[in-house]
Point group: C2
Chain length 192, copies 2
DNA sequence: GAAGTCATGTAAAATGTTACATGATTCA
DNA sequence: TGAATCATGTAACATTTTACATGACTTC
């Protein structure tokens, strides 16, 4: 499941420009999928070449022209097929946890900062999800799955935040305690 | 924070071969960082060229030879510096949630299967973490951060599993209900 | 005899990120 | 005047995944 396929998915909810699709990803998928212009625009170009979507340029009045894309029947079929073929993975790539794993090699101050900014980001995400849930247009194309993914994100991030808050003090003191060992290790590298 | 840097990190716990490092990643990092041989071996070769690690070949008795790598002082310093520079991100890339978002386009059976296999995988992961926590060698180099990352993984995956279990029945019935709408949509694509 | 583990690596392909280039309009 | 939003795109680079190639030993 790559950006190309996700673009097809976005267009099942109606015609949109590359810019719109980016916004859609940001609002809806931000906590489990990211995509920048650098991958969206080339994806749309390629999908157009493959006739899975069609483009028409709409003149913007007092605004740049937009290229509005429309899902073709072939594109819809390809998307449905891909959805059914996909073995759905769920991957986490966390430099945050890597850092915490190696926290004994870091100054306690930095560990504190890292934990706090992680908490902040989780809370921002939670806020964003709640906002997005609140402002759903009653006649909009919000699929039933949206509730599930929003709930999932909220559950997971709430649990993660709570865990960090519970551990925070412990971690800081433990990190400080192992600080002396760290200095030993730096002066006398293991295995030398 | 890429595989190259992670290899340096792995070697702070002692000398190891590429094969060992892969195992280390699997045991320790599997729930928040993945790396295959295809990225580990080239990374080690490059680090050797940069003199951040040194290699020596150890003849295996009745087994293939191993190339055992050792972190040089320069390598240790580079790793510590990188740890401090890194802005720690925490990214989720979930085809599972994408699928759930589009569950209204899928047969209810598949949605059920997807949820169940996701539950299974979470439970496998939880099991693996618990095993890894249990069999810690008393004199081993387990860093204090290990407890944190294991606890984090357990917390998050337990919450996620519970959420899925709580939603499961609801989702299935909702998906079935919206099934008729799906067929309408397929026969009369929006915007045609 | 088949499958699995130990062990190292390469090459091509897929994928995504970052930086750049352009330019009008709106709001403070 | 400066920043933000709207809007599209390219090119270079970074990074990872996948498939291939090799081969001995062990366990069922």
């Amino acid at each position: 499941m790559n950006v190309k396929e996700l673009c097809l998915g976005a267009l099942t909810f109606g015609d949109a420009s590359g810019y719109d699709i980016k916004k859609f990803f940001e609002n809806t998928f931000s906590h489990f999928f990211v995509a920048g212009y650098g991958s969206i625009y080339p994806a749309l170009a390629e999908l157009t070449r493959e006739h899975l979507i069609s483009a028409k340029t709409v003149a913007g009045e007092g605004r740049p022209d937009r290229k509005v894309y429309h899902l073709t029947p072939a594109g819809r079929e390809v998307f449905l097929a891909r959805l059914q073929e996909t073995t759905p993975q769920h991957k986490v790539k966390s430099e945050f946890l890597v850092l915490m794993y190696f926290s004994h090699l870091l100054p306690a101050r930095q560990v504190e900062t890292v934990l706090d900014s992680r908490l902040q980001e989780f809370e921002q995400h939670l806020h964003r999800i709640e906002q997005h849930e609140a402002c759903q247009h009653p006649e909009s194309a919000d699929p039933p799955g949206m509730k599930f993914v929003c709930g999932f994100g909220k559950t997971v991030m709430t649990a993660a935040s709570q865990y960090i808050r519970d551990c925070r003090k412990n971690i800081i003191t433990e990190t400080k305690r192992s600080s002396s060992q760290k200095h030993d290790a730096r002066r006398k590298p293991a295995g030398s």
